[in-house]
């Protein structure tokens, strides 16, 4: 059995049984999982975790699941010492957490693995989600592995290239005509009408916990310590809050020392409601209309925006917004220095990191981890202009004529 004890309202503190439920009945605020940390502390150790499977389920004792898990090989992705990029940015201890290398090429596999495991525990036959790419692919893949039916709702303007990466797992793929807001509204109604495991609605408290494994891994890969600085992307803000929670939990459990990490969140300037709130000193995150090529983090009304804002402020961190031009440069810089092709959201992180270092917010000697959460092959159109090959005839002369000086 897991060490989860209840669902708890993040605003008013009311508790609910561990069921498929995401909002407090009284104040409509989000629920999150409570744990019995005293019992958990007795069960976990660095040695036990290190001896676990080489995937995210080595942290099973810290997650709210009870039985067999739905696993397609997610997690324990590389933490790369990024010396080349570090030299470029003038950072002595820079690491890249490369979460492109998950089975469906994004960090969403972590959250979905937990959510679908719970969906099966709760007895759902059908799971569903609404997504423009990464989440949809991950839900469809995990549902296939779990022998469950999945409904995936996508806005009609999703790039064709992304559809194949979703459809290959054979979900019921539903393309919704209408605006982004229309799709949101429809899915909210669907979730109320049908008894499905809606991955990021009624299963959201469980789904959220999967994100913690990113932070656990980084701490373990650093030799059981927390970094000085974290730079991560923020869409809904959930990942950002859970990286912080994961470090806090490891410290509470005695697995790492005190956490003094500064958390920096990055968003695309065309959709930066959390950054706007941070910079204006506001307490509430006001929704915006997304307009950026970083679509995987283009969430105008972020569900965890308020909590991400609070984390950034509490830990002495910050927030910065990146234009589409800057994020493209960020994608190219990461690829050219470290050989990692990140999606547009990764470009936001690298460009954000560059800004934070250049402005002196992140210091040269601080151990910094930048989180790359999705692979670039999904958003190739963002950097299509890099393709300009030499065109030659199939002769040595032709080659040496155009490239001789460079060979």
């Amino acid at each position: 059995m897991s060490y989860a004890t209840a669902l708890r309202c993040r605003k008013c503190g009311r508790e609910y049984p561990l069921e498929p439920l995401n909002l407090c009945d009284f104040c409509f605020s989000p629920l999150e999982i409570s744990y019995d940390y005293k019992r958990m502390a007795k069960a976990v150790s660095q040695e036990k975790i290190s001896g676990g499977p080489p995937n995210m389920w080595r942290y099973k004792d810290l997650l709210p699941v009870d039985g067999d898990v739905v696993d397609i090989g997610t997690g324990f992705t590389p933490l790369v010492k990024a010396d080349n990029l570090g030299r470029e940015l003038v950072l002595d201890h820079l690491y890249i957490k490369n979460d492109c290398l998950n089975p469906t090429y994004s960090f969403k596999d972590r959250v979905v693995s937990v959510a679908i495991t719970k969906a099966r525990e709760f007895g759902f036959d059908i799971v569903a989600c609404a997504s423009t790419g990464n989440l949809a692919a991950s839900v469809a893949a995990h549902a296939a592995k779990a022998n469950m039916k999945s409904y995936v709702f996508i806005p009609s303007d999703v790039e064709r290239g992304k559809l194949v990466g979703i459809a290959i797992y054979n979900p019921v793929l539903v393309m919704v005509e209408g605006s982004y807001d229309d799709v949101n509204r429809l899915c909210s109604q669907l979730a109320q009408r049908y008894n499905w495991g809606f991955i990021n609605i009624n299963l959201r408290p469980y789904y959220a916990e999967g994100s913690k494994t990113l932070g656990y891994e980084v701490a373990e890969q650093l030799g059981w310590c927390a970094p000085d600085c974290v730079v991560a992307p923020a869409g809904s803000g959930l990942l950002f809050t859970r990286i912080w929670k994961s470090l806090d939990e490891l410290s509470m459990l005695g697995l790492i020392g005190p956490v003094n990490t500064h958390m920096y969140l990055t968003q695309a300037a065309g959709c930066s409601p959390i950054v706007n709130a941070f910079q204006s000193g506001a307490l509430h995150v006001h929704p915006v209309k997304p307009n950026t090529i970083a679509k995987s983090i283009a969430i105008g009304n972020p569900a965890d925006g308020y909590y991400a804002l609070r984390v950034a402020r509490q830990c002495g961190g910050g927030a910065c917004a990146i234009t589409d031009e800057e994020l493209v440069e960020g994608m190219k810089l990461l690829a050219e220095t470290e050989g990692i092709f990140a999606e547009a959201a990764g470009g936001v992180v690298i460009a954000g990191l560059k800004k934070l270092v250049a402005s002196g917010v992140i210091k040269r000697n601080e151990l910094t981890v930048a989180f790359i959460t999705g692979a670039g092959l999904k958003t190739q159109e963002a950097v299509a202009e890099v393709v300009h090959p030499f065109v030659i005839k199939p002769t040595l002369e032709s080659f040496e004529e155009v490239a001789g000086n460079q060979a």
């Binding site: 949101n184 899915c187 909210s188 006001h286 969430i299 569900a303 965890d304």
Partner: protein
Amino acid sequence: MVKRRVMFTFPPELIKEPIIYNLGQQFKVVTNIRRADVNGDRGWVVLELEGEGKDIERGIAWVSSKGVRVDPVVGDIVEG
């Protein structure tokens, strides 16, 4: 009768208008406020609407047409 949980975000020019009162009066929708934050230039209200499905739909369309942003309480459901 159905229930719908929504968040209204008001722009500055609508802060003084009794939008929620009129929603209840004109569309036979019962409004039940659970959380809110309204100040001089902006405001948001989280509330539950109860009524006939078509009345709620018409009511939400009217609120939107007035310039109020209407979102699901859970935030955006469509994710990347």
